[in-house]
Symmetry: C2
Subunit: 331 residues, 2 copies
């Protein structure tokens, strides 16, 4: 099943609307709405499936769609593609601890108000605004100390994520050791989330398929999400649940998808490589190869699109499609 | 106004209950329930105040009360009492960067399923289980880039927090730089949250008053929450909102309350000092004074109580009152 959440803006005067939006069932080909749910996605995850009114035949809109969970009680983002982490270290001349290959990096991310998949990314270009193309899952309840098998069974939906990152704020925050707060602002998810049983390329633990990223209409990344993923989703979920229960509606992200090339750094798409799922990684490769980065981070007006296609070239999740806007500019 | 949330366990078979509980208005002296709200605290924060059915005269129960927000979309915990951070560093022979006096430490904490104020703290004693007595506020909407003044106006409720910490897991996680995930499991809040206008000792930015902590029935901390707080709540909230909006229902914590004594480390309550709001701090003082800690972290059966009294000795927020249970032991 494919689901999406339509926006219903809160109006405090007329007392209408809800931050949780209207949950709908979407046709497999993403052209139509097949049903309206009587509850939000969070309520569905909390209390089990409720009624879905079928036989609607609305077309699925290009805009007005929110992230499947417009807000979540938890977002835990891993760094499952350890190649990405190794490159970060290599670019700054540091050794990566061997433990990083068996102990996942994971941070607790902001989840109080996600961006919609077509919302502007608002910020100050001096912050070093970047995108990160990721895979993410939504879980049901996971008990403290869950095994990998229990974790795998708790995966309810899979979706794509743009984990917006403010690169110039990251070094200062990481040095403090308390993780990302200012350097990881609101992120966005694909318009559609898909149940594991309806998802081509899902093997129960990883999603196999090419994550497509265009920057300003040019291919930037064509990275395979099923390759070079050191920690699969059940491993990430079990890591998160080691010392606490995870409530229904927990989102677990993969971290930036990152592919090696012949065991070493990849190449840009334009040079025949798989490219990258974030600008930082391209800059790291540039630094390793030439001593300095040349690709700038995002500037106002820049546009990023993130999506995935099935074997027939049809979009699986719809597209994250966002434009950067300066914090000083109004909509 | 004082509010609390009664538990209504979810039963998927009968399709009753809600993780968000029943919001009630509590009498100032915490003896009675004065009204039942038609919505949860989160809905109240989302959409504005709704109806409260008055003239109930139920007594306020000793148990069955959840944390005011049983789950929240965001929990950001600062380290506002920099004395605490300085002691941590001093105990391990490290210098604290000067920037820590003007750039708040803050981490994104788990908020998907808080413990109730009387729930057991479940864990493995080898993890080094500790309590942390804190003050916390619940905010309304805070726009990105908010000033201190805007942040101050957004404070809706004040409450107490026990930020449970797993001390033996912290060094490994901090070394990874991504913040706390496994080492900060579910925390709990006081049974009652209080609006700023009804809170004795609240000056608009800090809460003045003695945070009382008993360990196994003996006084462990009598620390003043209004003293030695380097970063007040408006500063912490504005720090959190620098690069993103904060949604209604965001919880911002102060970090462990910590008092200096004559400009240096404090003394245990038994020796006439204000004591400590966590065991780790007492262990740090022991390490600084004698070279090694002597107070153990929490063991199964240990009990911690955290509360605050007004000038007449009446409890303001009710008490957090929790017993430690081994993860292998059933309820």
């Amino acid at each position: 099943m494919k689901i999406a959440t339509l926006r219903i803006p809160v109006d405090r005067v007329s007392n209408t609307g809800t931050p949780d939006g209207q949950l709908v069932v979407v046709s497999d080909d993403l052209t139509g709405i097949e049903g309206m749910a009587a509850q939000s996605l969070q309520e569905w995850l909390d209390k089990g499936f409720g009624n879905v009114t079928r036989n609607h035949s609305l077309s699925f809109p290009d805009s007005g769609v929110h992230s499947p969970l417009p807000r979540a009680y938890q977002f835990l983002d891993g760094s499952a593609y350890v190649n990405h982490v190794e490159l970060v270290r290599q670019a700054r001349g540091a050794q990566m601890p061997d433990s990083f290959w068996h102990d996942p990096l994971m941070y607790q991310g902001g989840s109080d108000s996600f961006l919609a998949p077509t919302d502007d990314i608002v910020g100050d270009p001096d912050w070093g605004i970047d995108f990160e193309g990721e895979i993410a899952v939504i879980t049901g309840f996971v008990p403290m100390g869950a095994s990998r098998e229990q974790a795998a069974e708790a995966i309810r939906f899979v979706m794509l994520c743009n984990d917006v990152s403010l690169r110039n704020l990251i070094p200062g925050e990481l040095a403090k050791g308390f993780g990302f707060v200012q350097s990881k602002p609101a992120c966005s998810f694909s318009p559609v989330a898909v149940t594991p049983d309806a998802l081509p390329g899902w093997d129960g633990a990883k999603l196999h398929g090419v994550l497509r990223i265009d920057l300003n209409g040019e291919p930037f990344g064509r990275v395979d999400a099923g390759t070079d993923m050191t920690f699969d989703f059940p491993t990430l979920i079990a890591h998160a649940a080691r010392t606490r229960n995870l409530a229904p509606g927990t989102i677990v992200g993969s971290g930036t998808v990152s592919n090696k090339l012949d065991g070493g750094p990849g190449k840009p798409v334009a040079q025949g490589g798989a490219g990258y799922a974030c600008i930082a990684e391209q800059r790291m490769i540039e630094t390793i190869l030439t001593g300095a980065p040349t690709t700038p981070f995002l500037r106002p007006g820049d546009h990023v699109k993130i999506w995935m296609e099935d074997d027939n070239g049809a979009s699986i999740f719809g597209a994250i499609s966002q434009t950067v806007r300066h914090i000083k500019d109004k909509t």
